[in-house]
Amino acid sequence: MAKISMRDVRKSYGKDQVVHGVNLEIANGEFIVVLGPSGCGKSTLLRMIAGLETITAGQIAIGDTVVNDLEPRERGCAMVFQNYALYPHMTVAENIGYALKVAGTPKAERMARIAAVAASVGLGDFLDRRPGQLSGGQRQRVAMARAIIREPRVFLFDEPLSNLDAKLRVQMRHEIRRIHNRIAATSVFVTHDQQEGMTLADRLVVMNKGVIEQVGTPSEIYDQPASTYVGGFIGSPAMNFLSGQVDRATHSVRLASGDRIDVSPAIAARNHGKLVQIGVRPEAMTMVPAGQGTLNATFEFVEELGAGRLYHMMFEDLTLTVLAGDRQTLAAGAPVGLHIPASAVHLFDADTGKRVEAAPLAVVEQVPA
């Protein structure tokens, strides 16, 4: 068990900087999920914590020890790799127990611990098999068991579920969360699957192009995205965006089309004349008869999602989507009104992409999901 603190951590490969000054404090026992698109530097960050990659600048501390110059084996981290990286010539038991063997644990104790850990992840019957004789899910469990048996202070996961089918992925997700709760290590989990991130995390770290865009609980990040990037990345179906200019007099944002979208008077007062991006989540908009809404759009087509429907509209030359629970039958090309309540509007600075607030962001006290 240990906290992790990163101060201005940077990584360059030759002249290319791929991680640009990451600051992050991870509390003891926390489950952190690092979320970001492919190539944003998630794995690099994780590998720097593990010690598999050197740190170009900055400082990483685990517990109270600065680990910049420590070998991986001295850091007390265990890692689960995306492709599991099981030793193909060793049996399941040998794979799980390898760290203990290297550490010189006596054989009797080793065997007892292997059996206990294997049983805890449901591998009791497979101890004599080779990894090649296991299914994907079983291999995944071996990789987990290999990490658990070391009783690490820190658990690192690099997209460990991405090779599994959808159902197994959900199942293993729950199992990982259960294991985390049981052994109470600090966990850092890297993924590009936002659903995985939202459901697993105590706190989410959203990364983009080597910088952290936002850190917060999943609900904070969903409700108050700090930038257009986070707004667009988190949430499925994705957020709708419109450009306009803030007008204090009507406390609204004026779009190029002349339409106005109401925003809270406090925001309008502070940001008069500012060019902004408006973000509206598909489920926060409602369809109303043409002419009665905030905007008038043209219906294009509908996607059935089972629990609801996703309606695609054309507004000017933009596609907007509305997620609604009810099933309406609309003809393609039919005019539709869209109602956008002021409370549903997220405002972002058009130049910087940063969230525009009425007042400095209040600290939101929320119980982790």
């Binding site: 991986p72 084996r73 193909p88 390898y98 760290a99 090649g132 290999r146």
Partner: protein, 293 residues
């Protein structure tokens, strides 16, 4: 497994013909000739060959010189194989760790494979020559201690070193390729498990190299039985006192210098059977212990 079946076609036959011709002219025909000679004897005063059955084989196998030749061939094969594969493995492990300058010696190490055996033998003349070679330094310390043309064990050591030097390159390439095919994440997993480089080498790299190791063992043993002629011919000429008279070399001297075609042919057949038997044994008993992953 999917298989494709093709109908017989003239185009295929024509395209195959050159390759088949080459195999026929350079392999089947000489082999058939050897078989013919091995079971016949040329009459002393001409008049064709007479069938003698296994008499040629009996003569060869009752010749103490032949058994001497077998003994030294086995010593040579085992010694060059161990030396060449051991060196190749060590070099490949270092090249794989990407120690400083590994690019340079990776290329440097591949060259010897392209050098013809007689050229290797000639160059090693300059190394082992008791008067002028590198080893002649020993004679300045204590006159007469080094002379492969006098001391049989020194002659054997010379051909072993030259033969191994030539074979190192081939094994090195395969070992290096196999090492580089081990996924990096495996080594990283072992690093996370706390294993240091030497430990990873023993627990991870060497076991994963076993298929390559087995393949190279077969190739090296076969090569050292059949491909040593050039080195012996240029370096020792089979001497001193027949101490380096390897089986291939003896076939050549008996056949082309003593003009005993029948004896040489019988020896060729025996050598061929020996190599086949060795390969069989290796596949039967060693391959089982190999982890194919």
């Amino acid at each position: 497994m999917r298989r494709a079946y093709f109908k017989f076609s003239w185009i295929a036959a024509v395209l195959l013909a050159p390759q088949l011709m080459i195999i026929f002219v350079f392999f089947y025909w000489p082999s058939a000739q050897a078989l013919y000679w091995a079971f016949t004897l040329e009459q002393p005063w001409g008049g064709g060959n007479t069938w003698v059955g296994f008499e040629n084989f009996a003569n060869v196998l009752s010749d103490p010189y032949y058994w001497g030749s077998v003994r030294v061939s086995v010593i040579y094969a085992v010694a060059t194989t161990i030396l060449a594969m051991g060196m190749a493995l060590i070099l490949a492990l270092f090249a794989d760790r990407q120690l400083a300058g590994y690019r340079a010696y990776r290329i440097g190490l591949i060259w010897p494979y392209a050098v013809a055996a007689p050229a290797v033998g000639l160059s090693f003349q300059f190394v082992f020559n008791p008067g002028a070679g590198i080893f002649s330094y020993l004679n300045t310390l204590s006159p007469g201690v080094w002379d492969p043309s006098v001391y049989p064990w020194q002659a054997i050591a010379s051909i072993v070193i030259a033969g191994a030097w030539k074979q190192v390159a081939y094994s090195f390439i395969f070992f290096l390729a196999a090492l580089q095919a081990i996924p990096r994440s495996l080594s990283e997993a072992a690093v996370m498990d706390g294993a240091r480089p030497l430990r990873r080498m023993i627990d991870l790299q060497l076991p994963l190299l076993t298929p390559t190791f087995f393949f190279l063992l077969v190739i090296n043993i076969t090569d050292s039985f059949t491909d040593s002629f050039g080195i012996v011919d240029t370096l020792t000429g089979g001497g001193p006192f027949r101490s380096t008279d390897l089986m291939v070399y003896k076939i050549y001297t008996d056949g082309f210098q003593s003009l005993d075609y029948s004896g040489a042919a019988a020896q060729s057949i025996i050598l061929m059977l020996l190599v086949m038997a060795l390969t069989f044994v290796q596949f039967r008993y060693i391959e089982r212990r190999v982890h194919y992953t």
